[in-house]
């Protein structure tokens, strides 16, 4: 659906994206993962024609720069920095962008309902919370029913509740058959949404892997320190090791190495064995 071929973007002497090539398969979610400064946002800006670049980007066959309008007609975009006209009402904003995308005006109302903003339609955008603005951005991106959704760090400014709500919406969009390209540096988002991950480092592709194998591929490890009554330590250690965990004693607690997406599993295992955990700490490496 989207092909990046030898994409290179330089800012003066600094190379932000270096000879990047990869494909985004239709109806799949592809994540660009990497630390800040890896070049993820630059890739997105090139795709949207906001930056000039060397190389080629094609969206369903359309050149993203030379045939920018046709390419962007296929793409709904959720930016990292939400930039709306703050004084406009939520509904007017949706209607304004519906007109620009030449989508039916009724679609604005339908999509606001779909993302749970129907009751806030009359409010000025400035009065919406961060989570609501993010959902508005998703609704605007879906106007005109584009087959591709591009999201740049969509949950970076959300609290845990807002993040969870947004990821649920995104999962629904994915289930509806959209092709998704998103950037993130949150492992749980990658594992929840992405079918494929492009790991970027200093503007280049470091590795490509399925979303649920990212932690293993990068050798990411999380250690959970469980605090237990002293008398139950040996028993807990035995239960955890029999369940297959790499567990060891550490003073007044037990250290358990787990997959980053399964931090609560050892607590659940101990609860099933009638061993109550009094407290826990998490360390990632």
């Amino acid at each position: 659906m989207i092909t990046f071929t030898h994409l290179t973007k330089r800012f003066g002497r600094y190379t932000a994206v270096d000879n990047l090539s990869f494909n985004v398969a239709p109806e799949q979610a592809t994540a660009l993962w990497g630390p800040n400064g890896a070049g993820k946002t630059t890739v997105i800006k090139c795709l949207l024609g906001l930056l000039r670049y060397n190389g080629t980007i094609r969206v369903d066959g359309y050149d993203a720069y030379r045939q920018g309008r046709q390419a962007r007609r296929l793409v709904g975009y959720v930016p990292q920095e939400l930039a709306f006209y703050e004084e406009m009402s939520t509904l007017d904003t949706a209607r304004f962008f519906a007109q620009l995308k030449q989508a039916p005006r009724t679609e604005a109302v339908t999509l606001l309902s779909q993302v749970g903003l129907a009751e806030h339609a009359g409010k000025p955008v400035a009065a919406l919370s961060g989570g609501m603005k993010q959902r508005l951005a998703l609704a605007l991106a879906l106007l005109g029913d584009p087959p591709v959704l591009v999201l740049d760090e969509p949950t970076s400014n959300l609290d845990p509740a807002g993040r969870s709500q947004f990821l649920q919406l995104l999962a629904q969009v994915k289930a509806a058959g959209k092709t998704i390209l998103f950037t993130s540096h949150r492992l749980e988002e990658i594992e929840q949404i992405a079918d494929q991950v492009i790991v970027m480092e200093r503007g280049a592709v470091r590795l490509t892997c399925p979303g649920d194998e990212l932690a293993t591929a990068l050798g990411l490890r999380t250690t959970v320190k469980l605090h237990l009554p002293t008398g139950l330590l040996d028993n807990a250690l035995d239960v955890l090791q029999r369940a297959g965990y790499a567990a060891r004693r550490n003073g007044v607690g037990v250290l358990v190495d787990v997959h980053p997406g399964e931090k609560a599993q050892p607590i659940h295992t101990l609860n099933q064995a009638q061993i109550a955990v009094t407290d826990f700490e998490v360390e990632s490496s």
Binding site: K45, L48, L51, R72, Y77, A83, Q99, L100, Q102
Partner: protein, 277 residues
């Protein structure tokens, strides 16, 4: 070019301009001063009351020269740079619309808001004068004055867009706009007078040099419209009358048109090529 998109953007610009407190303030100031100038136009001649349209139009020239360029330069300068600073321009560019549509939509919207402001200012003062029985002895003079003031506002709007296309921050763009306003209104005149005296510039060159300032073109065109002569401007005016009389209107219109089209054209080329969003 999709004109539905252009019109959608223009409508939004128009709404925003009419909500802009500075724009409203300029419009109100223009309206109040236009009324005051109209009332006082004949006071110096011993008559207290509303003047006829022709004389009132003459007294309005200086008001137009001060306020209209300031209004147009300010909103023009904010147009692209202000949106770029707020990141709304990048979001707009990420939509399936062309840069030409964005540029034209914004220009059209601001053009309409300037027209609304001038029509309001001139319209209400004209209406009040008519209701007070000062008599519309020469209403065409006022209509032509409105048209010339509108053209002047477009020249300054284009210059404002030019500034906006070359800057990334609204505040900086407005600052440059205010500096240029000073140059056009005050420093341009002083500079030309100084150049004429020290360089002993020939009268013909002096006339053509004055066309380098759109405010001067407006002033000459407006005076020519009211009096059908430029004698009041001194030797350069007398020379222009003798040398170009038949073509003066065409020269002034062409000068204003160039000041509208050239800066707007350069601004569009720059905006089209820009890629640091």
């Amino acid at each position: 070019m999709n004109w539905v998109i252009v019109w959608t953007l223009a409508q939004k610009e128009l709404r925003d301009a009419l909500r802009n407190r500075w724009f409203v303030l300029y419009t109100l100031a223009f309206l109040v001063l236009a009324l005051a100038f109209s009332y006082l136009a004949l006071a110096g001649a011993g008559m207290v009351g509303f003047a006829g349209f022709g004389r009132t139009a003459a007294s309005l020239i200086n008001l137009v020269l001060l306020i209209v360029p300031l209004m147009a330069l300010t909103i023009g300068a904010q147009s692209l740079a202000g949106e770029q600073e707020r990141a709304t321009l990048a979001y707009l560019l990420a939509q399936p619309i062309s840069r030409a549509e964005i540029f034209l939509g914004k220009y059209l919207g601001l053009l309409l808001s300037l027209f609304a402001s001038l029509a309001l200012g001139f319209g209400i003062s004209g209406l009040v004068m008519t209701l007070n029985g000062s008599g519309a002895a020469d209403p065409m003079a006022l209509v032509t004055m409105v048209a010339l003031a509108f053209l002047l506002s477009l020249t300054m709007l284009s210059v404002g867009f030019l500034i906006s296309a070359f800057t990334n921050r609204g505040g900086v763009a407005v600052g440059i706009g205010l500096f240029l306003w000073l140059v056009f209104v005050f420093l341009g005149d002083l500079g030309m007078m100084g150049t004429a005296i020290t360089m002993r510039v020939p009268i013909d060159t002096l006339f053509w040099l004055s066309l380098a300032n759109p405010l001067q073109i407006f002033k000459m065109a407006a005076i020519f419209n009211i009096q059908a002569t430029l004698d009041i401007l001194g030797p350069a005016g007398i020379y222009a009358m003798q040398r170009y009389e038949t073509y003066l209107t065409a020269i002034f219109m062409a000068g204003l048109a160039l000041w509208v089209l050239v800066p707007a054209g350069i601004a569009f080329v720059r905006f089209h090529a820009k890629s640091d969003f």
